[in-house]
Amino acid sequence: MKKILSLFLIVLFVSAPLSAQQRNTAANANEILIRNATVLTAARGRLEGTDILIRAGKIAQIGKNLRAGANAQTIDATGKFVTPGIVDAHSHAAVDGSVNETSYSVTSMTRVHDVINPNDINLYRALAGGVTVLNVLHGSANSIGGQNATIKIKWKRPAQDFLIPDAPPGIKFALGENPKRSHSNLQPGQTRRYPATRMGVEETIRDAFIRARDYKAEWDEFREKSKRDKNLTAPRRDIELEPLVEILEGRRLVHSHGYRSDEFLMLLNLADEFGFKVKTLQHGLEAYKIAPEIARHGAAASIFVDNWGYKIEAFDAIPYNAAILYRNGVSVSINSDSNERHRRLNLEAAKTMKYGDVPEEEALKMITLNPATQLGIGNRTGSIEVGKDADIVIWTAHPFSPYARVERTMIEGETFFDREQDVQNRAALAAERQTLERDEANRPSTSPRATQPAVPRERVKADLDDADDIDGGNHK
């Protein structure tokens, strides 16, 4: 009996990972045909009555009356709208622990990808809003914050699978009230952190890059010398300065939080001084004032559409920001910075059509191709084009309609959100909950002293940014 049991266990353990693998390759190798949809490509306009053929996780063909293999899964999308997966270029979902390392104003040594929580329910809710990619950023409490993680929401997979392997690395910078800690309440016994002024923020960033330049020189010298002398001890590796060297060498993207135009100009000038490029200006509420300067530097803007007035430096915001930047040739994306707003970025994009008449496809690009390009992954996702990852959303109506709902969200051809499936699963979940609540470990105590379980109430915010919490911006 024991033998049979252990044999059974062996079979179970050996076959379990295998079958998972088989399932994946099956999902990838098998063809999927989305039929007869209205496709908003975010690159080549709007295609009516169009089929999309997905093969091995990539978009293989786009056209009318496409033919798929015998085993292909067919999805009838008659009357439905299909868009690329939404890319949110500013998120703090899925971060375990505090979003901000508030101790220092330069914390480039921290890495979001060390602390990804793949089980954060906000990820699933983002999928349900058609989001496939998140730029998960460190908070904005520091002049130079931590390294970001560009992830695809491969729900129910381990954290490692979420990381996009060829996404260029990035880093968070921040300007203004947050890094000078205008809104932070000091704990008793705690001293105020440097910098406390906007000019102090500039000095902090400049100082960091001077140190990084010296550090790079030290290593360059060692590499040169060690060609002749093999016994040389390598210089100390400094994980605070390494990412800054990567910025100087153009290998790491800078995503800078900020509001005021004068500060953005300061950063762009500072970048010119050190010879690097700022990739995105995050929030950029006053970016419209310096649109030509931003275009000249080659920076992009990742903004809110009509949020304003929630702090002093947010008073000069206008909802025409996106349109003005767009007409000045700046790449614009609309981001969420919120576990609430990321569920309805489609409607945020729609607002840009109202404020300033941004063309429909350009508005859609602001939540798909533009943020993908800003994150350096525009070659693989962000639009519906042959050869790109099959990151695809099927909507019940035009995504700019408030009545539109996501039916299905696919990443690389695999479905990670299926509304029908979700509805079906609810009964099973309710049954599981009932069983679990009957379980001894979960059964309420019969003691008269017993009380309700303590469950922290969830608060989802959309009107503040990530440094406003006393603890340094931990949204959970």
């Binding site: 921290t110 931590g146 490692q160 705690q190 979960n442 309700q452 379980p453 469950v455 340094g472």
Partner: protein, 573 residues
């Protein structure tokens, strides 16, 4: 004259025995140094863990070692104290694979006369304590990033926690310092002996590492900061090691690398260069925590052990393949309670975690992962046995469960050649139990540590509860107390009426911050603890922990999400 020699010796021996046992009774209260060092445990059921169980047998212990084990009545020497263990079961001494036993807990500092302190003063004191820790080690790193902290230096054999653990049936503990991030280097100790040196079996055993960040304002304050801080220290240690080696090869004409105690403490744990690389115990419970620390261990080629391991069953194959042991916590998640009637229902993940916790041990065992049970900071040692029992109910074989607190643990700590089983030549660590070891009703009657016998009185302050025997403490705490709580420079008056039932505390708390029944009240050898829902702008759980300091006096700390402060109390007659 003919002398009956054998008779003479028998009389002589019994006289010696009588004298020595009298002597033993006299001195046992102060010292066990002169206690008899030879025992025969007869008629016992013996669970050897190394071989088959012996249904009725004898164990002979002499000078701290097991000298003989066998079925039936072995030849019992005349000079031993005989313990008739009829109806009792003898196990190898039970090992707690992680605890801070013997390291005094930080006590709330409290001036006489009840003069309190505000949060600022409290933080200042904490800062001073931190500076002290730094000064002691002469390191430039802050407290929390001092891998040189060694349990062996911190153990105080007089600490009451040693007796508490021993009374609960433990003979041996892997003692881990109480620091955060780098918790420090552990020591395996036997719960006996006058000095730390006598108690220590092996030190250091491992370096213990959590990624729990430090206090506000002190890098690192975030989880990702913790990873960065630890990563930089490992890189620096690697670099320093290389620099020192290069310097030793050629000191003349080379600038001497700085000595650095904290980084040098990491050398034995670094990879490649180190023969006999020492293990690092990573605290990790959830699937993602375990995934993270396994990645980190791979990054620096470290020899890893997982501690906590609540969801380690999901990594069973990987842990087996890489031979990574688990120090599995028996402190299973429990329901927390609040008084808020409109609390949200608990999430599925919380419900699932509680239901799944007991199943992990069986999963590890099925995959052949080496694991040992630890108490995991539980407040009440009764949970150790009860939860081991739950693991057995969830599919873990009984012998495997016993092994995970005896021989299995000894193997992980590299001491299986000297303890962990009942075999001749091994250290005489024995736990003698009446009843089923996994049953709540079981009692520990004797504990042998290094060959010293400790009889556990039925009504002694044994476990930190469970038996409910701490009657004096219970009586001292029951009644109505006037509390003075320090809160941000001002004092808040409150009354709490406490009733006790065995080791449980119940009662009502009243103050300007609200009135609420107390919950999760417990009395232990350490003191007492209860939770009150307070309204300080928002509803928070305030955890009161303290002790009775004199007749009708109590002192302790209140911990809420906002921080920790102190309180004092006077009992109203």
């Amino acid at each position: 004259m003919k002398i009956n020699l054998s008779r003479f010796f028998a009389v002589f021996a019994s006289a010696v025995l009588l004298l020595s046992s009298l002597f033993y009774q006299q001195v046992s209260a102060q010292s066990s140094a002169n206690a008899p060092r030879a025992f025969a445990i007869t008629n016992a059921r013996i669970v050897t863990t190394s071989g088959a169980d012996i249904e009725r047998g004898t164990i002979i212990v002499r000078d701290g070692l097991i000298v003989a084990v066998g079925a039936g009545n072995l030849q019992v020497p005349v000079d031993v104290r005989v313990i008739d263990a009829n109806g009792l079961t003898v196990y190898p001494g039970i090992i707690d694979a992680s605890a801070s036993t013997g390291i005094p807990a930080p006590r709330p500092t409290q001036q006489a006369g009840g003069g309190g302190q505000n949060i600022a003063q409290f933080l200042q004191q904490q800062q001073q304590a931190q500076q002290q820790a730094q000064a002691q080690s002469n390191s430039t790193y802050p407290a929390g990033l001092l891998p040189e902290i060694a349990a062996a230096d911190l153990i105080r054999t007089s600490d009451s926690s040693i007796e508490t653990a021993r009374n609960s049936g433990f003979t041996t503990v892997l003692v881990v310092p109480r620091e955060r991030i780098f918790q420090g280097q552990s020591a395996l100790i036997n719960l006996s002996g006058e000095t730390a040196g006598e108690a220590i079996v092996r030190a250091p055993v491992a370096l213990h590492l959590t990624f729990v960040p430090l206090q506000v304002g002190q890098f690192p304050t975030s989880l990702m900061g913790s990873f960065a801080a630890v990563r930089q220290m490992f890189l620096d240690a690697q670099q320093l090691q290389e620099a020192q080696r290069n310097y030793e090869k050629n000191p003349r004409g080379t600038r001497r690398p700085d000595s650095n105690k904290s980084l040098e403490a990491l050398f034995p744990y670094l990879s490649r260069q180190t023969p006999g690389q020492a293990p690092i115990v990573f605290q990790a419970n959830t699937e993602r925590e375990i995934g993270r620390v396994l990645n980190f261990a791979r990054e620096f080629n470290l020899k890893a052990i997982i501690a906590g391991g609540a969801e380690s069953g999901r990594f069973a194959e990987q842990l087996k393949a890489q031979d990574i042991p688990v120090l599995l916590s028996l402190n299973f998640p429990r329901r927390t309670s609040s008084t808020s009637p409109e609390a949200d229902p608990e999430s599925m993940s919380v419900l699932r975690a509680r239901a799944e916790a007991p199943k992990t041990a069986a999963r590890l065992a099925a995959a052949g992962v080496r694991f040992a049970f630890q108490s995991g900071g539980m407040a009440n040692y009764t949970d150790f046995w009860a939860n081991a029992g739950r693991a057995v109910q969830a599919g873990l074989a009984r012998p495997a469960a016993i092994r995970a607190m005896t021989l299995g643990s000894a193997e992980i700590f590299g001491v299986a050649d000297r303890m962990g089983s009942i075999e001749p030549g091994k250290i005489a660590n024995l736990t003698v139990v009446r009843g089923d070891i996994f049953d709540r009703a079981r009692t520990v009657t004797h504990v042998f540590v290094d060959g010293r016998m400790y009889e556990i009185p039925a009504a002694a302050p044994t476990t930190t509860g469970g038996g409910g025997a701490n009657a004096a403490a219970a009586q001292a705490i029951a009644g109505k107390w006037n509390l003075t709580i320090q809160l941000g420079g001002q004092t808040v008056q409150a009354t709490v009426t406490l009733t006790t039932q065995r080791n449980q505390l119940a009662g009502q708390f009243e103050s300007t911050l609200g009135a609420a029944p107390i919950s999760q009240g417990e009395i232990s050898a350490e003191g007492f603890r209860f939770v009150v829902k307070l309204n300080v702008g928002e509803q928070v759980d305030a955890v009161f922990a303290g002790r009775i300091t004199g007749e009708n006096q109590m002192t302790g700390t209140v911990t809420a999400p906002q921080g920790t402060t102190s309180f004092t109390g006077t009992k109203t007659p």
